[in-house]
């Protein structure tokens, strides 16, 4: 039985992952043509490369269909309830960095902290008859964060893209989104709350629970960890 390593199937995240492994003496490559999602591994025995969407890697890891996986730490926390009991972080890989933050219009000069956001949410609900809407695709992370900090009278509205535009379009009053430089936020007239950092994400190598692994798979993991210097 081989150890299945899930890696994002395209783009910068895939290239950077291949580089990271190559720097540590493990060569990952697409075995067929550029458009084919089959992979090969050189430099270590017993590891099989599985190329799939970064968003599906948390689910596949938790289900045990892959044994190791590279994906954003934000995606694991968002997609897996109780994530740290279901997967283990083996290495933070130092690329793919982005922050999940809460942002509001720059015109909200009275709002700089979660405390302000909470007070404004109460007033907004009283004035408009519905809860203050926060557009995001990170429902679990945002909800857990706001509950932990005791923010009330908000509602999450789903936004799978162009989230920065939801406020102008009056489908949300605030947003919770990923940003790396904050440039798009500023261009859209938004600012980040000073204590509104929900999670600093980066590409991370995870392993699933070892329940049901064979001795050979456990030995392969040991060898891989030694090779990668973990």
């Amino acid at each position: 039985m081989t150890l299945k390593l899930g890696v994002p199937s395209k783009g910068r995240l895939m290239d950077k992952t291949f580089d990271w492994f190559a720097d540590r003496g493990v060569t990952l490559r697409k075995s067929g043509g550029e458009r084919e999602y089959a992979g090969a591994v050189d430099g270590i025995d017993g590891v099989e490369l599985v190329l799939l969407s970064a968003g599906e890697i948390p689910r596949e890891l938790a289900a045990g269909r892959i044994h190791l996986g590279v994906t954003g730490s934000d995606l694991v926390r968002e997609r897996l309830a109780n994530w740290d009991s279901r997967v283990v972080e083996l290495a933070q890989m130092g690329f793919g960095g982005a922050d999940l933050i809460i942002a509001v219009p720059q015109a909200w000069i009275d709002v700089d902290t979660l405390d302000d956001l909470d007070a404004v949410a109460a007033a907004f609900r009283a004035a408009h008859g519905h809860r203050l809407r926060i557009a995001t695709k990170y429902h679990r992370l945002v909800r857990d964060f706001l509950r932990h900090h005791g923010v009330a009278d908000y509602q999450l509205v789903d936004s799978q893209g162009a989230t920065e535009g939801t406020i102008r379009n009056e489908t949300a009053e605030a947003i919770a989104d990923i940003t790396s430089t904050g440039e798009t936020l500023r261009a859209n007239g938004l600012k980040i709350l000073s204590d509104g950092l929900i999670h600093s994400s980066q590409a991370t190598l995870f392993r699933g629970r070892r329940r049901g692994w064979t001795d050979a798979q456990r030995a392969t993991l040991k060898a891989l960890e030694a090779q990668l210097g973990l």
């Binding site: 809860r131 005791g150 509602q155």
Partner: protein, 363 residues
Amino acid sequence: MTRSAYRAEGRAIGERCLAALRDAGAEQVDADILQPASVLLDLYGEDIRGRAYVTADPLRGEQMLRPDFTVPIVRRHMENGAEPARYTYLGAVFRQQDFDESRATESLQVGYELFDRDTPSADAEVFATIAGLLGDAPLRAATGDIGILRAAVLGLNTTERRKAALLRHLWRPRRFRQLLDRFGGRSPVPAARAALLEQADPMADLPPVMGLRSESEIAIRVAALKEDAAADPISTTELDLIDALLALSETCPNVLVALRDLSVDLPAIGAAVDGLSARLDALGARGVDVDALPFEGSYGRTSMEYYDGFVFGFYAESRPDLPPVATGGRYDALTAVLGGGTGVPAVGGVIRPEVLAELEAGA
């Protein structure tokens, strides 16, 4: 879907409790398993999404598998009920378990809800009835009273705005503490707030306004922040009184003495303390051993925010891993919210018969 391993035994205990409550004069009621999500979301906020199962109906929109019976029963009563009214029910409730896979996601509840204007007597009736149904199971009772904390906040010598902010967060201890620290001058003014307040006219160079929140709403809050900055901090004496109230953890009679002492400096809690005294008398009259009954000043503050007076729970001391065997409390404000402004005094409690069955099996 994890079902309780004690389904059959729990069902039998539940049926017995239901029969006893019916015999005592309660009307048996039922509630749809699918409840409109909007009512529950407006009431509990977004947190309920993490605890209840949400599903979508193409025509009716978001629905939830009922997370409790109280809300549908209150809605039903507010539409066509007359006081006094006693309701009972037996059925499954559904809760997501994000953090503990061993906890049941579908569990049985048997409950008792009482709508009656005689508050101390109704509190005592629900507590004694639930306690009676639990029999001699080895349980630890816990009680508290959110109404006393509420009265203490209302009696603070500070602005109405600050009191409203504190009342809104009675059930979120962390945010409540932060607000108290800020209103009491115990935490520094955030830099951005200080910079805003230093400007002669903060609204002068306002960046372009977009979205539903208007310029006048921003101006109103800026004015409120100025008013707050000009107001005196809540006094150390009053902050200490709130701390003392929250730290209470004693038997009911000792707590009553302590609260009488506190009310010398905080007269606003007097009526609520009288209410506690009357409740203890009513409990005693029903045979509850109030001299041994514990009272905690903070009890009930981390549950979902609908209890606003008397709160209680029964816990298996030998099995801290189990959820509480029974919980309950007063929820007058909930009836007002669901009744469109007009509320009626209401108190209720639930027993989780499967937990009781598990406890008995392990004993």
